[in-house]
């Protein structure tokens, strides 16, 4: 600003004369094409062109736009490096109006050459993004499967779900605790009732509590969250009634400890050291306290049956516990035990989707493999050659089908 002022204050410099040498003739860019950008909200036009044969001498490329073939053309962008495409997404562009484009090359001494004017081209918004068809197909198929199977499950609650090893171990572990005359300890970790894993753990607790009632064994459930505690009390009470032993139910065994992570771990540790449980169930949502609990349980010689969907804690559970329900196994176990149509239906439709996925991977990979093997053995021509091309292009097409943007 000051400089502007200074310049105004003191006279401007006389402009030095440009050398009036003759400009070298340049050839323009070729094959300028314009197209409405596909799959967008409009207000965007794709341009593409081929470089000028003299591209080595081109200093810059300038793109012009006009609303009529006669002009006036207005420069919208310039490139200092060889460029062959541009998307004009100027917010000034209006849908359903004609536009014309021109690309100039500028060389030494401002010599320039314009290509043929391209246009008219219109830009318009699309109703459907065709790039995303695979997503739509998958969502529809999967959603349909899901609804279908939930309906099936409502009618047929005995839908098959395979038994899971950790579940088989429940009865055995409860039995062993009884033999040794020791109580059972069940921990939900530090999850809340909104966690799916906590809900799944509740159905496992129901099973455990029922067995415990049948064997007349005490079951201790120290809790991190008061709401989960209430749910656990309900569950155990109900299970004891179902087993015909409501008299054995002791509310004092299902307690609220504390709502802080390590405080909870320390509390459960204390209970384990005092009561020396014969079996410890660690089911639900676990974070860092998993290690502390598993270690103490192991040191008091308890059988441990763990289950969580927390990927970071699973390795430790597997290394330290006798049985571990891994992620989805926990949910499958609860579907198996509870026979809730929602869970069963989801499980089934997921299984179908898994089969489809596996099938897809196998088919495409086999096609790709055949193509690759043929490529390495086939010659320049002949039937083998065309077969090779068939497989290779098929593979490419199958792979690119899943590409979305």
């Amino acid at each position: 600003m000051v400089l502007v002022y200074l310049t105004a204050l003191l006279f401007a410099q006389p402009v030095s004369d440009a050398n009036a040498a003759t400009p070298v003739v340049l050839r323009p860019v070729e094959n300028l094409r314009t197209q409405d950008t596909p799959n967008d909200a409009g207000q965007s036009i794709d341009l593409s062109w081929k470089l000028s044969p003299d591209s080595a001498r081109v200093k810059r490329y300038e793109v012009y736009r006009a609303q009529s073939a006669k002009g006036p053309f207005e420069k919208i962008v310039e490139f200092l490096v060889p460029t062959t495409a541009y998307t004009d997404a100027d917010t000034l562009l209006r849908n359903k109006k004609d536009y014309y484009y021109r690309v100039d090359v500028v060389g030494e001494l401002e010599s320039r050459a314009s290509c043929e004017i391209a246009g008219p081209v219109q830009t318009k918004p699309e109703w459907f993004n065709t790039n995303r068809i695979p997503v739509l197909v998958f969502a529809l198929v999967y959603g349909l499967l899901l609804i279908l199977y939930i309906e099936f499950a409502k009618r047929d609650r005995e839908m098959f779900v395979r038994r899971i090893a950790g579940l088989d171990a429940i009865d055995e572990a409860v039995g062993r605790s009884t033999e040794m005359g020791k109580p059972i300890l069940f921990s939900f970790g530090i999850g809340y009732l909104t966690d799916v894993a906590t809900l799944a753990a509740l159905s496992i607790l129901r099973r455990v509590a029922r067995r415990a009632a049948e064997y007349e064994t005490r079951i201790l459930v120290p809790n991190y969250d008061p709401i989960v505690m209430t749910a656990a009390q309900e569950t155990v009470k109900q299970a004891f009634s179902e087993a015909g032993r409501p008299d054995l139910y002791q509310e004092g065994d299902i307690t609220f400890l504390t709502a802080d992570q390590f405080g909870y771990a320390a509390g459960v540790n204390g209970i384990m050291l005092r009561e020396k449980p014969g079996t410890v169930f660690l089911q639900g949502v676990f974070y860092a306290e998993a290690l502390i609990l598993a270690e103490t349980a192991h040191s008091v010689g308890a059988i441990q049956i763990a289950g969580t969907n927390m990927a970071t804690q699973l390795p430790f559970f597997i290394a330290a516990c006798d049985y571990t329900l891994i992620g989805e196994e926990l949910f499958a176990a609860s579907a198996y035990l509870d026979r809730d149509p929602q869970l069963l239906g989801s499980l089934k439709s997921e299984d179908i989707a898994k089969l489809i996925t596996v099938g897809l991977i196998v088919v495409v990979s086999v096609v790709g493999t055949i193509g690759a093997v043929l490529t390495s053995i086939s010659g320049e021509s002949g039937i083998l050659r065309s077969l090779t091309e068939f497989f290779n292009s098929g593979f490419e097409r199958l792979v690119s089908f899943l590409t979305t943007s």
């Binding site: 109703w127 995303r132 502390i292 270690e295 390795p315 929602q342 989801s346 439709s349 997921e350 989707a353």
Partner: protein, 263 residues
Amino acid sequence: MKRTLPLIITFLAGVFVVVTFFIPREPFGSLEQRMLVWYSILGGFTLLLGIDSLIKHHTRKVARREKDWFYSLVTLFGLFGTLAAGIVTWAKYGTPLELASLNEVGGFFWVYKWIMVPLQGTMFALLAFFIASAAYRAFRARTFDATLLLIAAILVMIGRLSMGVVPATLVLAVLLVAAGIHRLLIRKPVFGAVLAALGVGLGVLVLAFPQDAIRLAPQVQEWLMSVPQTAARRGILIGVTLGTIAMSIRIILGIERTYISST
């Protein structure tokens, strides 16, 4: 009103964003954008959700002099002290996040750096100790699965060493041999023999070519991570993602309603 309207809102909101995903045309895009902004604003309010019960819980404890009421006082002190620090810094600099407040006792950044960071950081540093003690007292290579897991774990740990590769590998060899002998003694001769042979072989090779072992360890680690580990992880990922999608569809269709009943 209490149950149906939320279900309708969920359905409409969910279907809306799914539909706009496929329709590039306006006004869907800008409407979606507005919904996303609103979502973010609501997110700010959810940050405040648990505070009432926290304050109530602790003030009650302090007021009634319940057990451990002193610690509740500490929590309240931490809460209001930090709030004050934030407000003072905010008033002074126009933003609570001003690095200059690091040099002022009681500045927001100062509280962050010298109280928040050590508390949070050390809490998780405790885990290193728990891992060490669990490693010693609880992790067992008794089953095939656990053996495999521990061997992979040790290989990965060796691959991330910057020194001591040779002794660490020898320790692994010892484990393999011991596990092999154990299996042999409990009448699992094939598995036992394989493990023991692996262990002896590994030990001999490492002693014979220590330089190559040092060079190869990170490569073995990288290969383990990028091939078998990636494969299993992807399999799990695909399963978990299918589960997430199923859950989302159930929520939108109003089949899954736990989120309503739990409020």
